[in-house]
Structures are given as C-alpha cells and as structure tokens.
C-alpha cells in the first residue's frame, strides 16, 4: 500500500467565517491490519500548543525524533500553534476539511464529546487498554460512552500559588485550610501593603475558576454530574456558589483594575504580579510555575513560590476534598494511520512521561513518571492530585465552548459588580439556544 497523502485543491474561502473545502481525500486509511504496522513509510502530522520556545517545545521535538529513530518508517511533522487559536480556529477548521492533522491537542470534556459526535476522532479503546489502566481515572475525561478517544499526558489540580516570603512577613504561619483562614490571610497581607491575591479577570476564565471552586465546595457529586451530563442547573448549590463568590469579592482581596489584567502575558499580568512580588497569591493550575518562569527579569521561576489547595468552605454542602483540575492530551483523527495510535501510546509511556515531568511543564499521568518531577512545588501538586477526594474537570471545558463561555461572561459580570449569582445560572440555562 503506497502512502500518498494528497491535499488536493484546498480552496480556502476566508471572508467572514473560514470555509475549507478539500477536493480530494487523503488516501491514508484507519483499517490497516496489524501486520502492516511500520511496514510502509508514513508521515504523521502533529499539532500541539507548545508554541513558545522553551523546554517543552524542545522536548516534543526530541520525542518525535526518538520515535522516528525507533521506527524509521514513521516521520513526524510538528506544527506548534498558540493554544487559543489552535483550539478555537485551527482544529475545528482542519477537522472540517478532509485533511486534518493525524494527532492533535485534545482538552477532553465537552469538546471531545462534540468531536466524537461529529465522527472526527479515532476509537482507540482496544489498542490503549494498558495505557488507560496505567493512567487511571484521569483518562475518563478523554472517553465518551465508555470508548476511549484520546489520552492525557498531563493532569493536575489547581490551587493557590503563593509567596512564602510575603506570607512570613505578614505573619501567616500556615497555609490557609479554610475559607476563614484565607480571609484572615487577606487581611494580614493588606496590612503589609501588598495585593493579597492577583486574578487575571481580563481573560475571563481565571475569574471563572473562582466560581468553579466555590461550586465544587457547595454542590454534591450528583448535582455536578447532572449539570455536566443533563445540563440541569436547578440545584440551589449553583446559586450558593455565586453568593459565596460575591461575599468573598466584598472583602476586596484582588488587585485594583483586575478587569484589565490578563492572566499570563507580561509582568503586569496576574502571574507576573505574583512572580515579581507585587501580589502574594494566585489561584491557578499546575502550569503557573512554568508561566511565571518566563515573566521574571532573570527568566527563572522564583524560589519563594509554594502551593496549597483550595480551602474548605465552612457550612458548604459539597465535598470539601474534591478539587478542580484539568489536563492536556492528544487524540488521533479518524483516518489517521495505525502508527498514530502507537505514537500516542509512546507519548504516555512512563519513560517519555518522566522526561515530560523533568521539563517542569506539568504533572505526568503515567504511574512511575512522577519521579521525573524535580521542582518541589510540582511534587506537592502531584501528591495533592493523588490524595484529592475527587477531581472535577474545569467547568468551562466540561460544559463545552458555548455554555462555558456564556458562564464565564456571567461570572465576570459578578466580578465587575454588574451581575449576580442568578445571572450565571440563567446564562448556563440559555447558552445552548444559539
């Protein structure tokens, strides 16, 4: 079987939306027999989101080269694309054409469900049984109706990144374990004249995460699963989460003008404020250390950083040990050659995952790979992820782009003093109408 991948005449009509029509299909097929594996030369296109020069980008190139050395018939062509562009524009447009990338970034949750419903993804259930067993519960986020469509290489819970030195100066002896502790810490930090908590509300989702965490504290597992699977938001806990957020906002714990603060871009971003000693805490995912490393004058991750999980909320009705989290994975497109699945399995193998851990870019999911983590904060997060009473995927990822964005808009309105707790629930209920 000759592998000639032809793009044909790709006519891109880009005026208002992008319409990509491809005249002839790629000839690669998904139903090779096992015997054909590695027999014929194949080129795999790989789209990932590590577009900034850094250890992870270098590492992915090494992974591709190593795989080629192991299996010389497989050549891997990488495109590294900015994450938002990749997720919102490039992948949907490419999947719509007849020539999508073979293996590409997949964030799991609602988006994976949509892609599966449209018939874009390869069912890899049979080939990846061992990998799924080794990864454990996190792999479910890339499964739909019991079938596996992608695998994570990174999964971690979020929590507070904080500045140990500022905490010591403010006289905070232990990381806050309850919301009351957190409020007390905010008061003490204000007294020494630093911003207690920075939030990149300008980007919307960092503000959204506050509501998500209060929701996890207020809502029972049933209420959360009804929301995710049946779009049922009738449980009063969703309203209570918004009220908790409003009460917390009233203590003015954040930097001024947070609506104009971006999450991760530049020294004035929320991560930059923490990295440069202007703010004492930030609620953010496990990647934050890597981000902060690019935002300091000497391009090093500050040594004063430490981490604690989202505190319990006294009197709240949900689980106080369940944590909000998320990860990154890859999926193979429907007609990708069988080598794609082999490469995906290679990426999540303990050896490769150990190397990923050593880049400090995230928390590996393969058992045995956590020994690769060198950064003490990352080790703490990995441990907390394992000990969490449960893990809920970022709600905006879980609900999909449409409902997720409408929810974030309504949460930002609360931050701006223009919205209310009911607004978030209403936004979620009507989001799917367009």
């Amino acid at each position: 079987m000759t592998k000639t991948r032809r793009t044909g005449a790709v006519l891109a009509l880009v005026a208002i939306t992008s319409l990509v029509a491809s005249a002839c299909s790629s000839s690669s097929s998904g139903n090779q027999s096992k015997n054909d594996l590695y027999k014929n030369p194949v080129t795999l296109t790989w789209w990932h989101n590590s577009n900034q020069a850094g250890p992870l980008q270098t590492y992915w190139q090494k992974v591709a080269n190593d795989f080629h050395a192991l299996h010389p018939t497989v050549t891997i062509k990488i495109s590294a694309i900015e994450t938002n562009d990749l997720q919102r524009n490039r992948i949907p447009a490419a999947l719509l054409s007849n020539n999508p990338p073979d293996i590409f970034q997949a964030w799991g949750g609602g988006e994976t469900v949509e892609q599966v419903q449209a018939g874009y993804l390869k069912d890899i259930t049979a080939e990846t049984k061992n990998e799924v067993a080794n990864i454990g519960a996190a792999s479910k986020i890339w499964a739909v109706d019991g079938k596996q469509y992608g695998l994570p290489f990174d999964f971690g819970i979020e929590g507070f990144w904080y500045n140990k030195d500022l905490f010591a100066r403010a006289g905070i002896s232990a990381p806050p374990a309850t919301l009351d502790d957190l409020n007390a810490a905010v008061t003490k930090l204000k007294a020494i004249g630093v911003t207690p908590i920075s939030v990149g509300a300008g980007d919307k989702w960092p503000a959204g995460h506050w509501w998500y965490n209060f929701t996890v504290r207020e809502c029972s597992a049933d209420a959360l699963s009804n929301a995710a699977t049946k779009q049922n938001f009738d449980d009063p806990c969703f309203l209570k989460a918004g009220q908790d957020l409003q009460t917390f906002l009233a203590t003015k714990p954040f930097q001024p003008d947070f609506l104009a603060t971006s999450g991760q871009v530049g020294a004035t971003s929320s991560a930059g404020q923490l990295a440069n000693g202007k703010a004492a805490m930030e609620l953010m995912g496990a990647w934050d250390g890597g981000v902060m490393g690019t935002l300091t004058p000497n391009r090093q991750e500050p040594s004063f950083l430490s981490w604690f999980p989202f505190p319990s909320v006294p009197g709240a009705g949900g689980s106080q040990t369940t944590m909000m989290g998320g990860g990154d994975g890859f999926a193979c497109s429907k007609n990708a050659p069988a080598e794609c699945v082999e490469f995906l399995k290679y990426i999540v193998s303990p050896e490769v995952e150990k190397g990923f851990a050593a880049t400090g870019s995230g928390i590996p999911v393969a058992k045995g790979a956590e020994t690769g983590l060198t950064d003490p904060v990352m080790q703490t997060i990995a441990q907390a992820t394992q000990q969490a009473g449960g893990v809920e995927l970022w709600l905006d990822t879980q609900f999909g782009a449409t409902a997720g964005t409408a929810m974030n808009d309504a949460i930002v309105a609360i931050f701006a003093g223009k919205g209310n707790p009911q607004g978030v629930v209403d936004a979620l209920k009507k989001a799917t109408a367009r």
Partner: protein, 333 residues
C-alpha cells in the same frame, strides 16, 4: 511604454474609441465579436477573483447565518432568522446593542474630533516654516504603526501606575486617574482617544494632498485683495478642499464601523464581554469563534455588512453625489 499605434482602449471595449481610429478591413460583425472577446477576456480574471473571494463567501455567510452551527460537521439545524431576531438573536442581546452604540460613538468621534483636528493641523502645516517636514512626519507616524503595536503600546502606557498616571500626577491632575482600561464607563473613550491618536495622521495626509491642489493664483489674488490668512483659509482653501473632506468622511465612517484590531488588543476579553469596549467586529469574533457559535457569528457578520453597505450607499447618494457628478466635467485648471 512608447507605443502609440494601438488606440484600442485597454480599459474595456465599452468605451471604445470612434471607429475611424480602428484598423480597417473588419466587418461590423467581426468588430462586435472582437469587442466582446475583449470584454470577456479582460474582465474574466477580475470577475473570477471577485466571485470566489467576495460574492461566494458573502453567499455562504448568509446561508450559514440561518443555522445553529458549532463548526463541527456541516450545519444541519435550520433556525430561519432566529440568529437575527429570535429571543436569543443579535438584536435582543444587550451586549450586541452595546456594540452598536460603541460603533456609533467611534463614528461620531472620528468625524467630529479627528476631522476638525486634522484640518487645523493641516492648515498650520500648509504654511512654509522651518522644520515643516519633521512636524508632518510626527503627526503621520502613528498611522504607519501597526494596529497591534499601537494597542500594546497604549495598554502599557495606560495600565494603572504606568506612564499616563505618572504624567497626570506630575501635572497635579492626579485626581483624574481612573482605570483607563478597567473602568467600564471610561474604556470606550480611552479607545476613542487611541483611535484618534492613530488615525488623525491619515486625515492630515489627505487634507495636505488636497491643499496642494489649491491653485496659488487664487490665494495670491486673495492676498492682493487684502484678505487675511484666516479669511483666505476660510473662504478659499477649505471650500476647495470639500471633495477631499467628503472622501475622508466616507473612508473614516466605513473604517469606524469595522474597527477591530486596536480594540481587540488594548481592551481585555472581560471588558469586551461586558459591552464596555466591544464593536460589532470584536463581538463577531468573540461569539463566532471563541464561543463556537459559527451560525450566530455569521449572522453578526451579515448585519455588519448590511449596515456598512447601507451607510456607504446613503453617503454616496447624498454626500458624494456632486463629487461623482463633477468627475464627468472637464477639470478647471
């Protein structure tokens, strides 16, 4: 090109020159045929490109706008005009109405602030003085800068505690300081300020070009008759600049309707989503792509197109009309 022997107009057979200039010996039918070959041959590439990249996408946009479509698979859920007028359609979304209002503010601000400002500067810079070229360049430089550069630059200047606040403090105007990019009531005016800073240079260069066409004889005659500098500008230069000003108004209005880059870069997604700085174009991208409501995004695009198109037609019909009529008469110079 020194060839003079071919009198056949290259701009199309429609305005073919008198027959006596044509090479003789062809029958009337052959000439007609030839004329049509020319029309078809010369216009085909343009028609093809225009159809492929303008008309067809417009048609597709209208078609998509009638569907609920997330961008995965082809659109199947037909919704009629719901994306426009339905309970969740654009015209019922207060944030879209905010976008319309913001576009209105930018149009009015461009016409009422940029125009007079640029005209004033142009009148000053049209006089002869030392360093005139330097001043002209300084005012024009912002227009040459890329929109994204301008957006990032002003964002850095205007963030709390940055350069703008320091300058206001040192001028004793510290009590005016606010969240230039975060105060929801102020952001649109901040955007208008940045746009004015950027696009005044464009108006200026057009006006200066127009002024260089004002014949010296007329101003000299006025000077001999004892007119002051201001009288000369008021009664001679500005009236003769009329057609240039009207063309600038047209370009400025269409530009203001479609403004995107500076606002996209200088104001955050949160501020846009609250309706404080969004325009129709940013609203379209925020919803079409980022919320993955492709059908709805197309509907917004169609609305933006219809509004721009109507504005252009009305302006041409009532304001530009005499300039277009004038183009048919002989030039008076």
């Amino acid at each position: 090109m020194t060839t003079t022997e071919s009198p056949v107009s290259l701009t199309g057979g429609a305005t073919a020159p008198p027959a006596r200039l044509r090479p003789g010996g062809f029958s009337r039918a052959a000439r007609t045929r030839r004329k049509w070959y020319e029309i078809i041959g010369l216009s085909a590439p343009a028609v093809l490109v225009f159809t492929t990249f303008v008309l067809a996408p417009m048609g597709f946009a209208i078609y998509y706008s009638l569907y609920k479509w997330s961008g995965y698979g082809w659109p199947t859920e037909f919704r009629g005009l719901d994306n426009y007028f339905g309970p969740f359609g654009a015209f019922r979304d207060p944030i879209f109405i905010d976008a319309l209002r913001n576009n209105g503010i930018i149009i009015a601000g461009s016409l009422l602030i940029q125009g007079p400002l640029a005209l004033g500067i142009a009148l000053l810079l049209n006089r002869r003085f030392r360093g005139r070229a330097v001043f002209r360049m300084l005012v024009f430089v912002p227009y040459v800068l890329a929109e994204v550069t301008v957006g990032i630059m002003w964002q850095l200047i205007l963030l709390r505690g940055s350069a703008a606040d320091s300058i206001l403090n040192s001028l004793g105007l510290g009590h005016f300081i606010t969240g230039w990019l975060a105060n929801l009531d102020v952001v649109i005016w901040t955007m208008l300020f940045i746009l004015t800073w950027k696009y005044t240079g464009f108006a200026l260069i057009l006006f200066l070009a127009g002024m260089s066409n004002v014949p010296d004889e007329v101003t000299e005659a006025a000077a001999i008759d004892g007119a002051s500098w201001w009288q000369t500008q008021r009664h001679i230069t500005i009236p003769l600049l009329g057609s240039t000003i009207r063309i600038w108004m047209f370009l400025s209005m269409i530009g203001a309707l479609q403004v995107f880059d500076v606002i996209w870069v200088a104001s955050t997604p949160a501020v846009r989503s609250l309706g404080a700085s969004n325009t129709m174009a940013t609203y379209m991208v925020d919803h079409g792509f980022n919320e993955r409501q492709w059908g709805y995004g197309n509907a917004v695009a169609v609305i933006l197109f219809v509004i721009s198109f109507l504005a252009a037609l009305i302006f041409q019909r009532f304001v530009l009309r005499r300039d277009i009529d004038g183009a048919r008469t002989e030039r008076v110079s």
